[in-house]
Amino acid sequence: MLVRIGVKKLDDLYSDVPKEFLHKGAYALPDALSEQEVRTYFEALDRLNARMKVFVGAGAYDHYTPAVIPYITQRSEFLTAYTPYQCEISQGTLRYIFEYQSMICELTGMDVSNASLYDGPTAAAEAMKMAVACAKKRTRVLLSRSLLPHILKVVETYAKFHGVELGYIPAPEGQTSLDGLQAGLATGDVAGVIVPEINRYGIVEDHSGFADAVHAAKALLIEYCDPSALAVIKSPSEWGADIAVGDAQSLGLPLCYGGPYIGFMAVKKEYMRKMPGRIVGQTVDQEGRRAFVLTLQAREQHIKREKATSNICSNESLMALWVTIYLSLTGPEGLREVNRLSSDGAHYLYAELLKTGRFEEVFPGKPFLKEFVLKPKEFPGFMQQRLEKAGLFAALDTEEGYVSFCVTEKRTKEEIDQLVHIVKEG
């Protein structure tokens, strides 16, 4: 090989690199390990992590992953391919993205979905940018104070550098305030409004009147949602949203310490060409067969460079396959049952915790599904430690001084009873 290239040794291939930049000496790295040693090493690291029953949500939900999903997503034809640039040998990827888009549109009721974004918070940030791009002159975006903290932080980071002014809508009674929204819109410079369908307290919000108020101010309504819950709660489209975003991690993705997850975005048709990310469309091939391609690419960075709708290139494609298989397995009824079982378990836990006398209700009577907050009557640290010792990750502190709980279909009655028992013992 060297002969054909016309050099004597491998180092000659770096003759164009100034000598002073060629690294001398050894790199400060560990010695190479065999596969067997690597496995042993990681198994030991793995054991350093606690194995907990998870009773916390706050943006990452411990739903069950059916065995079919890892089995299929590990198929190397899916796993080791890249972006489907060559559509003739990528119909597998293109078809599942098309199915994913279709399913996200079904759940949200929106017209057009993209092929995925990184995670929920970055999807919200993209929606913020999109609202400003659609509005042109109006540059302010309103965020509900009831959005989960990690969403607010990411949107705030993007806003700071992208030059978007943010305003906040108060949520004094555990729900985004319509009066607060109207007050925020009154300044006349609002391009978009981001509100959660299920908020940081686990409460299912009532957005009656929101769309009318937002649209009267010529702004876009962006609903942040948990797609799992959309099987039972009003869809973004039913609330009159222009953009729906959120994290589809709740559709069977492992917790995996926060990623990979998958942000989704779906919009009304009129905003299709302003949407960030890849989009797959259906067409026919030369012989009239149904075929799928990446489409509307004039929005994207590889064509438009600095004028693109976003800088996103690689997204979370394999996690879109994950979600697509999950929704295929559950179907509408399975997803409804997931919600029922989680919600029944959560309400049981809520009632039992109140009976212990150690908590006060924070938002009595407000509707919730799988997640809720309570106010501990005493400092919760000792209780949290005891729960932790028993292998239960629960009662997460919130910024407001509440503790938050979440119950998915994975939590059994026995586990919940154990949790309550530990709390009761004091």
Binding site: M1, R4, I5, L13, D16, V17, F21, Y27, P30, A32, L33, D62, P70, S76, E77, F78, T80, A81, P84, C87, E88, Q91, F98, E99, M103, D111, V112, S113, S116, Y118, D119, K129, H150, T157, Y158, S235, E238, Y257, G259, T283, E287, V293, H302, R305, E306, N311, I312, S314, N315, E316, S317, M319, L329, T330, G331, P332, E333, L341, H347, L369
Partner: protein, 467 residues
């Protein structure tokens, strides 16, 4: 590969399911108030588990991955993905960690962050890494935020421009725009490198920094990097390194030593994690010492980045170790130069000389066009390659050449594979010279053939119910 025409929705039969749940032992929760309830259920497919498995198995068989065959997609570093990495990432103690667990519960995970950070610092010459970015472009954006933050922390608010070479990846200018920076393009010279003379007048105290890929997207080392670094630093700007092309520098050159202040790495390229049909990746960002203070304030993703990808990358790194690091760089460069020298008799090589991990041809020397018969284009060559069981190179990028064909073989391919590719590329060139229509009508043997992309964009059918 065989054409398979179903969509999962078309397999749906009312009442069928592939999912089961434990018996519900709880008292029923109160119903949601009517005004919060969904009116019509989502129309998701109703299928059995075997339906699902067969459908997606059939779909997979219309796909080409690194495990299928040679995938010389330029700038994407489609190296082999070791299988042990998948098992490591699936270990239950990692997979089951909730992102809000406190440090005492996630000691193993935190060790991975620390040790991987240390290793990446050693490889790149950076002081510290943040692992929050989920992909390369996300890393670029994060890096540019750090750049701006650094200037702002010093009270320097006038730096609103970022210089980007005309050969840069499209994500570079796009990331700059998302970060609120104005993009100023600097031209390349005929030898493919940045025109340093053209750069000089662009430099002043409004420049936040420059984004560079070195080697650049032509696979050429920016030989005047020292001078460029001096000029940019001289006006108070910073140097950003786009790590998409880091592979040839593995074990050979450290971006930090060349004067770069901020960089990202694509773990799904250089560090062997699978590309997943377009992600998930990971784009950790490294910074020089004086920028470490800018890291903590920036929250660019929900939790701690794509942890599952970091695990895979670290497993890869541990198997490489310090002993084998250099082989990654050197063999990737060897493979690229070998292909380049073997094919330049029939494909136009616009810039002679040694390349790094990739190179760019400017189409066929003899495209077969004559007397009104159109010749074969780069697109045609790419499509013909599919017939021969190879993935196509990156085409029509970089924009410097009209018929760009960007080939990146990586270090994990054997000489036999490279030779087979070279033979086929020669054969394709011969076909073009003789009868370019063979190429123009290619591919002939794939599940579908040249779909109508114009129709797809003109009448968008973007979900099942649009059709």
């Amino acid at each position: 590969m065989q054409y398979y025409d179903k969509l999962i929705f078309e397999l749906s039969k009312k009442g069928r399911t592939g999912y089961s749940l434990p018996v519900n032992k709880f008292p029923p929760a109160p119903e949601l108030p009517v005004e919060l309830r969904r009116e019509t259920p989502p129309d998701l497919p109703e299928v059995s588990e075997p339906d699902v498995v067969r459908h997606y198995t059939n779909l997979s068989q219309m796909n080409f991955g690194v495990d299928t065959g040679f995938y010389p997609l330029g700038s994407c570093t489609m190296k082999y993905n070791p299988k042990i990495n998948e098992e490591i990432a699936a270990l239950p103690g990692f997979n089951g960690l909730h992102p809000l667990m406190h440090a005492g519960l996630v000691k193993g995970a935190l060790k991975v962050y620390q040790e991987l950070g240390r290793a990446l610092s050693a490889i790149t010459g950076m002081e510290a890494f943040t692992f929050d970015p989920c992909a390369g472009a996300h890393g670029e954006l994060t890096g540019l935020m750090i750049m701006r933050q650094y200037h702002l922390n010093r009270g320097d608010t006038a730096r609103t421009k970022v210089i980007v070479p005309d050969s840069a990846h499209g994500t570079n200018p796009a990331s700059a725009a998302v970060c609120g920076l104005e993009v100023v393009e600097v031209k390349s010279l005929a030898d493919g490198r940045i025109d340093v003379e053209a750069l000089k007048p662009l430099l002043d105290e409004t420049v936040a920094g420059i984004m560079m890929t070195n080697p650049n997207t032509l696979g050429l080392f920016e030989t005047r990097i020292k001078e460029i670094a001096k000029l940019v630093h001289g006006v108070g700007g910073l140097l950003y390194y786009d790590g998409a092309n880091m592979n040839p520098l593995m074990g050979m050159v450290r971006p930090g030593d060349m004067g770069f202040d901020i960089m990202h790495l694509n773990l799904h390229k250089t560090f062997s994690t699978p590309h997943g049909g377009g992600g998930p990746g990971a784009g950790p960002v490294g910074v020089a010492k004086q920028l470490v203070d800018c890291l903590p304030d920036l929250r660019v993703s929900g939790f701690h980045g794509n942890f599952g990808i970091l695990l895979r990358a670290y497993a890869y790194l541990l198997m490489l170790g310090r002993q084998n690091l250099k082989e990654v760089g050197q063999y990737s460069v060897l493979s690229a130069n070998y292909i380049k020298e073997s094919l330049k008799d029939v494909y136009k090589l616009p810039i002679e000389g040694v390349c790094k991990h990739e190179f760019v041809f400017d189409g066929l020397i003899d495209d077969g066009g004559h007397d009104g018969v159109p010749g074969a284009t780069t697109l045609d060559v790419a499509k013909r390659l599919l017939d021969y069981g190879f993935h196509a190179p990156t085409i029509y990028f970089p924009l410097l050449f009209h018929q760009a064909l960007m080939i990146e073989p990586t270090e994990t391919e054997s000489k036999e594979t490279l030779d087979a590719f070279i033979d086929v590329m020669h054969q394709i060139a011969a076909e073009a010279a003789e009868d370019p229509s063979i190429l123009r009508e290619a591919p002939h043997r794939t599940p579908i053939r040249r779909p109508d992309e114009t129709a797809a964009a003109r009448n968008p059918v973007l979900k099942f119910k649009d059709a």
